[in-house]
Subunit: 228 residues, 2 copies
Amino acid sequence: MERKAVVLYSGGLDSTTCMAIAREAGFIPYALSFSYGQRHAIELDKARENATRVGAREHLVIDFDYRLIGGSSLTTEQAVPKDGVVADSIPSTYVPARNSVFLSFALGWAEVLGAADIFIGVNALDYSGYPDCRPEFIAAFETMANLATRAGVEGSAQFRIHAPLILLSKADIVKRGLALGVDYRLTHSCYDPTPEGLACGLCDSCRLRLKGFAEVGMRDPIDYVERN
Amino acid sequence: MERKAVVLYSGGLDSTTCMAIAREAGFIPYALSFSYGQRHAIELDKARENATRVGAREHLVIDFDYRLIGGSSLTTEQAVPKDGVVADSIPSTYVPARNSVFLSFALGWAEVLGAADIFIGVNALDYSGYPDCRPEFIAAFETMANLATRAGVEGSAQFRIHAPLILLSKADIVKRGLALGVDYRLTHSCYDPTPEGLACGLCDSCRLRLKGFAEVGMRDPIDYVERN
């Protein structure tokens, strides 16, 4: 019997690598993205363009306006920090409860698809200090998921939240993805790209990505305004 | 200092009673509703009309299309059951992971508002057998919430999910609400109302509501097509 998995997919480096890992593990990926008012909406265009190219059987985009809730520079007019100070404290790009919302939708779709497995490309090492990217959050969500659902309660599925990148450095993630044949030209990570889609090279997300490629000794194949 | 609370608010009997309980406990209610493709969309019109009348300081409606995920007669063309068989097994009106999604949005809003308290009017006794209406789900969500958020992790808020109706019968809920001065004309519960907004009197939700009022010896003040 085929094993489906829901893969949270932003079109970025991490979630695309995560999708390759899910496939390698024998799952058929169902990619789930969100149009939630993020200022880097180009991310979503790229995700739409690339989801099936990078291995998803289906791609579902759920639309809601997180700007109504506010509280983050990713969804408001507040400036995205570009000072290169990474991970000292939780930065303004933190979106309150975002991964709880994303994983809850993933859980609903998984239950309908008959899938017990959900993949999320969060990362607790080379990350930006988000609380909902830590192993203890993932474990607590998994416990909750099995109490929240018909499939979990009736025992037809034991939900598992896979976070295969959680303890990897960005360099390790890139290495892993390259070994699995990921084409990183089909990924996009910048929090604040130009209207033409060039990555800024300065936001946390760009810095981490460039550092990852640099450590592997590879040139990042996407285009940047500036490279630090 | 004033204490804010996010109250999940459908405009129905339970959530309206829940809002009155939150006020009684000294909280200022911020009502949160969802337009998620529910077939009983009139519920939302009523919620918009009534939120501040029943005590909310603000009312936020978040819009997304749960029909994309499917899996429930509440959001698909599948018929709503009207056979009066209540709570034998989990019925088709179950919406996969709905309360996880709702509470996650509530958590995000609470964090932005500086509120630590979230009220949800779920009920595990006179209910329809939904897994995400049970105390063990609420407890697991609360644990997760405190690991998911900046406020939880930094200790500025200890999130608490209040489910004050969870062990009450529908009759007890009505009694409690009447004691707190709830005007039940400003509530609406039917899963499948007529276009004019009359409650069907036959779906699970109507049956439970009518039974509750009957047990209290009161006439339900809203209008029905049929009363069983």
